[in-house]
Amino acid sequence: TETFVGHQVLRIIPTSDEELQKVQELQDLEDLQLDFWLEPRGLGLPVDVRVPFPSLQPLKVHLEANGISYSIMIEDVQELLEQEQTEMLRSSR
């Protein structure tokens, strides 16, 4: 089973065409293994992206270097998954 320890979900809200384009370019960086939960759609619309742990630092540096602000929507994906699993087990019991 795939685990997501240390994966984070970042929320980016592009506020200019230039930012939007920079975020769209991220979709082509396959080696970062980014999983876009909400794809870039337009100005002011949130982009949510799950970032594997090894890509976190490089991506944050890249965003900050381009002046693109972001927030952390999910600190640790695996933690939420484990909560979900616990819930399911409780319910089935």
Binding site: E2, R11, L38, L45, I74, L81
Partner: protein, 310 residues
């Protein structure tokens, strides 16, 4: 496994087997209203089940709802289970539902992508696509919402088999999609088609593959406005609405573009909650509120379909 649909826990996520067991219980408890059809088999040979709610007659006009075409969007399959029970519970005392079932049937496919759904429970919770393997592809799976014969292969889908929006080698390459295509064509009398996704709180209508507005754009926009107002009235959940291409982005090979082009005028897609805290990992305690508010919007679409036969 629960002994009846009354003891089933609707406020929890369930495995594929538990949902299939729920379906059998619902049919057994309501033989005069509910039946289970198998419309095909998935890539990994799992049955594709559709629940039919009917008060009789043959080939009556019908209302279609599907959930779970993107397997990781767990709140949608869970909502589909809740809808199934709601239809049974209210089919006599709810005016909209009772009048709809007097003249129409309802088809509900709860787990539209069972291979992907099973995979999210066993191997990778984040899996979205089907589990098909096509020659020449080093990656597994096709995005079942890019595989329909509507603008297939155009902008708004990827030709890269490793992409989450890979459109597949050809339209209807995925048996999960082909099964619905064949069912819709053979039935020939479906009047409304609602495909339910998550997340981002949107109610969308065609088109996604072209900027050309659909001929019925004005009517679909008005229905969406009323449906979203009904949805928001329950818990205040804010939705946006509009055509796919103007509200989110260009997406080719999409489900409701194909159904609309088949003549099913009332074709809609929902993107259920989350407001941006949990994404696909919506806590189970939000399943019922999400299903309840969505149900109010579905009833607006049902009522309009009933009042405007075509």
């Amino acid at each position: 496994l629960p002994l009846s649909t009354s003891t089933f826990d609707y406020s929890s996520y369930h495995t594929l087997d538990e949902i299939y067991n729920f379906m059998d219980l619902l049919v057994a408890e309501n033989p005069n209203l509910v039946s289970k059809l198998e419309i095909g088999r998935s890539t990994e040979n799992r049955p594709l089940y559709v629940l039919k709610f009917s008060k009789g007659g043959s080939n009556r006009p019908a209302f279609w709802i599907d959930t779970g075409i993107h397997s990781r969007e767990w709140v949608t399959q869970a909502s589909g289970v809740w809808f199934a029970k709601k239809i049974v519970q209210d089919h006599e005392n709810d005016q909209v539902l009772a009048s709809l079932l007097d003249t129409m049937d309802i088809f509900l496919e709860i787990v539209t992508n069972p291979d992907g759904f099973a995979f999210t429970h066993t191997k990778n919770r984040m899996w979205r696509k089907t589990r098909s393997k096509h020659s020449g592809s080093i990656c597994v799976g096709v995005d079942p919402n890019r595989n329909w014969d509507a603008g297939f292969g155009g902008s708004g889908a990827s030709s890269n088999p490793c992409s989450e929006t890979y459109h597949g080698p050809y339209a209807n390459s995925e048996p999960e999609v082909k099964a619905i295509v064949d069912f819709v064509k053979s039935h020939g009398n479906i009047k409304a088609f609602v495909s339910i996704h998550s997340y981002s709180q949107l109610l969308l209508y065609p088109y996604g593959y072209t900027r050309t507005p659909v001929p019925d754009q004005k009517e679909l926009h008005e229905i969406s406005e009323k449906a979203v107002a009904a949805l928001t009235s329950l818990y205040g959940t804010q939705y946006k609405y509009g055509s796919i291409i103007t509200t989110i982005y260009q997406a080719s090979g999409g489900t409701i573009d194909w159904t609309y082009d088949q003549g099913i005028k009332y074709s809609f897609t929902f993107e259920l909650r989350d407001t941006g805290r949990y994404g696909f990992l919506l806590p189970a305690k939000q399943i019922i509120p999400a299903a309840e508010e969505t149900w109010l919007a579905l009833q607006v679409i049902m009522q309009h379909t009933l009042d405007n036969p075509y």
